[in-house]
């Protein structure tokens, strides 16, 4: 059994890497100290909050751990060392993550020492299944590899729009892939899950939008692979990303998890847009995240067909009325009680209804919401520049796009399933992000999600001129993550082990 109070205190400091700096002598501490050891009593009230969450550090020295302590055995071997920040004013211990290290690997430590590293929010170590999941950001990756360091600069908005829309977004896909035939799928590292992916995506959305996190009044996290049956992912996101105003160790933000299979996130777009538009809500921005470590039974088990398509990742959107990059023109949602895909409480993997997931489920609902929205907005296929659909496999989104009359140039830019697999709640949001990465101002995007159970949300978005300026702020685009030279491909056994996690 773990101690929940200890867990809370360790992750409160460790998730964000919080500390204090003495305003008198400049000494820094990886600890929320009320006074400085050098300056003593006179430093009370003169300690400034610092955190290392968006910083980059330097790996000073390192060694190989190939016989870890018990809670770390699932990592196998890893590089462990000491990381400095702020010109060596502060040193923290850390392990390198996102690296499959063999226990008999000859490692030249000097090749790593001196390298820039980025703190990553991850699971800390393994615990019993019933315990609280420990997390920490004392896990690092090399800045020169897959995940570059990006500054988080808060940028004052220059324009308020009449219509709410997307202000910024972030896509986080892990470094690992499994390649089978023509399809590549993202695989989490062993310390990743839907929680860590949600935080990563939210962090990237803040960086892209330049929005002050303290102005985010609500965060929704849609997922169907929350490792907890009861305990929200959104609370972790709010705490780690410091959303809403911080008052002591509590955030002034509303945080909620949503679930509706793969449309748990897209369903909330209209809620977020409405919330930021309601003058008395006092909410300037709302964040929506879709994140999944998409679940699938092993291939030879019932439900194992899904194992050919599932991916891992998260996608976050910030909605507001300031510096909007894509305005919401309208939406249409539909729902019916159709049991095409489900997972009973306590079951590790979902089941699905085979061919029943096609015509009576996916196609019927996507067709309905897309058609109704186009009808309402009086849109023809030619008025729409990009079509984005939910992507459970390669065939479905292509088939519905063609059926609705869209041409390849309209639907191909959003099609990411062959690169990342089905990221469940993140699927159509990632497709939308891929389009926003390349869209020009004043282009219309039709995004249609699908969630088993079943329902679909269709949105029509129109890009603004600000889409171009903000693009420069994000290095981790969809393309960057799908064509990255540092991708690491794993075999089926490793994929299952990593996906199972700790």
């Amino acid at each position: 059994m773990s101690s929940e109070p200890i867990e809370r205190r360790v992750s409160y400091l460790g998730d964000r890497l919080m500390g204090r700096r003495c305003r008198i002598c400049g000494k820094e501490y990886f600890e929320v100290k009320d006074y400085c050891g050098n300056c003593g009593r006179k430093s009370f009230g003169k300690m400034a909050d610092i955190d290392l969450f968006y910083e980059k550090g330097k790996l000073e020295i390192c060694t190989l751990v190939n016989e870890p302590t018990n809670k770390f055995t699932k990592f196998g071997s890893y590089i462990y060392g000491i990381v400095s920040f702020h010109d060596s004013k502060i040193h923290v211990p850390g392990r390198l993550t996102d690296r499959l290290t063999k226990c008999d690997e000859e490692i030249d430590f000097s090749a790593f020492e001196g390298k820039e590293v980025v703190p990553r929010f991850r699971r800390r170590y393994s615990v019993d299944r019933g315990d609280v999941i420990p997390t920490i950001s004392l896990a690092f990756t090399l800045a020169e590899e897959y995940y570059p360091h990006q500054k988080y600069a808060i940028i004052k908005p220059s324009k308020e729009y009449d219509t709410p829309g997307i202000v910024g977004y972030g896509v986080y896909i892990s470094r690992f892939r499994i390649k089978e035939g023509n399809i590549e799928r993202s695989v989490p590292f062993i310390d990743e899950d839907a929680i860590t992916a949600a935080v990563e995506a939210g962090k990237l959305a803040l960086i892209h939008s330049g929005v002050d996190g303290s102005l985010v009044g609500k965060v929704y996290v849609g997922s169907e692979s929350n490792p907890y049956a009861v305990k929200p992912i959104a609370s972790k996101v709010a705490q780690v990303l410091k959303l809403g105003e911080s008052d002591e160790d509590v955030q002034g933000v509303d945080a909620i998890d949503t679930e509706f299979a793969c449309k748990a996130a897209t369903s909330m777009f209209k809620d977020a847009a409405s919330l930021v538009s309601y003058p008395k809500s006092n909410i300037q921005y709302a964040m929506i995240i879709g994140a999944d470590n998409s679940q699938a039974a092993p291939r030879d088990c019932p439900g194992g067909e899904l194992d050919l398509f599932v991916g891992f990742g998260g996608c976050a959107y910030i909605f507001g009325k300031h510096d909007v990059i894509a305005e919401i023109e309208g939406w249409y949602s539909c729902t019916s009680d159709t049991p095409d895909f489900w997972r009973r409480d306590g079951e590790p993997y979902p089941m699905h209804g085979g061919r029943f997931t096609g015509d009576p489920a996916y196609f019927k609902h996507v067709r309905k919401s897309a058609g109704k929205l186009m009808e309402r907005l009086n849109l023809q296929v030619g008025d729409i520049n990009y079509f984005v659909a939910h992507q459970p496999n390669v065939q479905f989104p292509v088939k519905i796009a063609k059926e609705l009359g869209f041409k390849e140039e309209q639907y191909l830019p959003s099609l990411q399933v062959a690169k990342f697999g089905n990221t469940y709640s993140g699927s159509s949001p990632v497709g939308l992000a891929a389009v926003l990465d390349v869209a020009k101002p004043d282009e219309r995007i039709l995004v249609v999600s699908y969630g088993s159970g079943a329902g679909s949300d269709a949105y029509s978005l129109v890009t603004t001129s600000q889409i171009l300026n903000k693009r420069e702020r994000q290095k981790l685009t969809v393309k960057y993550q799908s064509e990255n030279p540092f991708l690491e491909y794993v075999d089926y056994t490793t994929y299952r082990r990593l996906k199972l996690g700790m």
Partner: protein
């Protein structure tokens, strides 16, 4: 200094894997041996100062004092601390203050009872944040070595010499332990074995570079200067004693290439004893790893910073039983050190004192050092955690 504490007797168990014994049995054995050594009886004891690093964790044993009371039928004051040196420190203070005249100091550890979880326990106690980040008890030693190599710009051929020197530390300690009937490993090892173990582990340090986990107990009987004469005319006096404390989190310390606590404790202990560093010929160092032995030689002042490995390397080419440092002889870890004698944390310091006591009284048998001059002074360095606390004691045979 007035009323120097005097050690009149010592006792210890063999260190090793005592699966069949309860912890109380070990401390009983060590106490009985010390009792016999100077013919001290239970009723003579006015207080007991005990140490165990984590018996409440390994053996789910709370209030060890109560167990000892049941065992000895003693109802005197008893206090428990974490290391033998800290227990000894409290005992010294009480003797010097004139509160007691005869006390028992004992240390005990039973690590093999929790062999499968011991590394987690050790690491979490030693440095929680490093543990959370994935550190192991061994990794800190390896990082210290990396930092040492970088700081002193050791390169090429010298790296090989440094690595050999560290292997020689282990070989030398095993050699010493062959003459120690209490030692956990009374067998010879070779430099090749140490180097191969590193190679097999694919790491800078291997299994032969580290002290083992051990069970064991050690005791001593400490008296006031006057009372000592009733028991022995060969009492060993504590001339200097000091300790220092440093951060728990190793990466947060200013200097990662040495143990500040060892440096401070030694300076203060020397001042207290009123002797010079090189008046001492015998030293028991806290070699949890071969790196620690090397670095401690520097921290205590016997070698210049960054140069200990050279002295070790040169001394061990043709080892004569001592390190030769700038032409001077230093007998280091004659009992085999933590590496070969064993390292039952709470009792380890007791074994260190045991060795210096025997050596200064010329009672170390086969392993008695052969010094050119009269052997008068010796010292021990004991650390707690990864250099979070450091204790130095200076012992003298003859009253100055």
């Amino acid at each position: 200094m007035q009323n120097r504490p005097a050690i009149v007797a010592v006792g210890r168990t063999k260190f090793g894997e005592h699966y069949e014994k309860e912890p109380e049995k070990l401390i009983e054995e060590a106490w009985l041996k010390a009792s016999k050594d100077a013919d001290v009886e239970r009723k003579n004891l006015e207080a007991c100062y005990l140490s165990d690093y984590f018996l409440p964790i390994t053996n789910k044993l709370g209030l060890e004092e109560g167990f000892l009371s049941e065992l000895t039928e003693l109802h005197v004051p008893m206090e428990v601390t974490r290391s033998f040196s800290s227990a000894l420190s409290n005992a010294c203070n009480a003797i010097q203050a004139g509160k007691y005249n005869i006390v028992l100091v004992g240390g005990i550890e039973k690590m093999t009872d929790r062999w499968d979880k011991i590394r987690d326990d050790l690491m979490l106690l030693e440095d929680p944040w490093s543990y959370y980040a994935g550190c192991t008890p061994e990794a800190n030693h390896e990082l210290m070595l990396r930092a040492y190599i970088k700081k002193h710009g050791i390169k090429g051929e010298n790296i090989e010499k440094l690595n050999t020197a560290l292997a020689q530390v282990s070989v030398k300690n095993h050699l010493h332990a062959m003459k120690n009937e209490h030692a956990q490993y009374q067998r010879k090892i070779t430099v090749e074995q140490v180097l191969n173990a590193r190679k097999e582990a694919h790491k800078p340090l291997g299994i032969y570079d580290y002290a083992p986990i051990s069970d064991g107990a050690a005791t001593l009987i400490l008296t006031s200067e006057d009372v000592a004469k009733k028991f022995t005319d060969k009492a060993v006096y504590i001339l200097g004693a000091s300790s220092a404390t440093d951060y728990l989190t190793f990466p947060a310390r200013n200097n990662m290439t040495h143990f500040l606590v060892a440096e401070i404790a030694m300076k203060n202990a020397l001042k207290m004893a009123g002797i010079n560093l090189w008046d001492m010929q015998i030293v028991e160092l806290y070699d949890q790893s071969t790196v620690m032995e090397m670095i401690s030689l520097e921290d205590l002042g016997f070698c210049e910073s960054g140069k200990a490995w050279r002295s070790i390397y040169e001394s061990c080419k043709d080892y004569k039983g001592y390190y030769e440092i700038d032409g001077k002889k230093l007998f280091v870890n004659m009992n085999g050190g933590l590496k070969a004698d064993g390292n039952p944390l709470g009792a380890t310091g007791g074994a260190q004192v045991f060795e210096v006591f025997r050596q200064l009284r010329d009672e170390a048998g086969e392993r008695q050092v052969k010094s050119d001059k009269e052997l008068r002074y010796g010292c021990i360095l004991e650390l707690e955690g990864f250099g979070t606390k450091g204790y130095v004691y200076i012992f003298g045979r003859n009253k100055k």
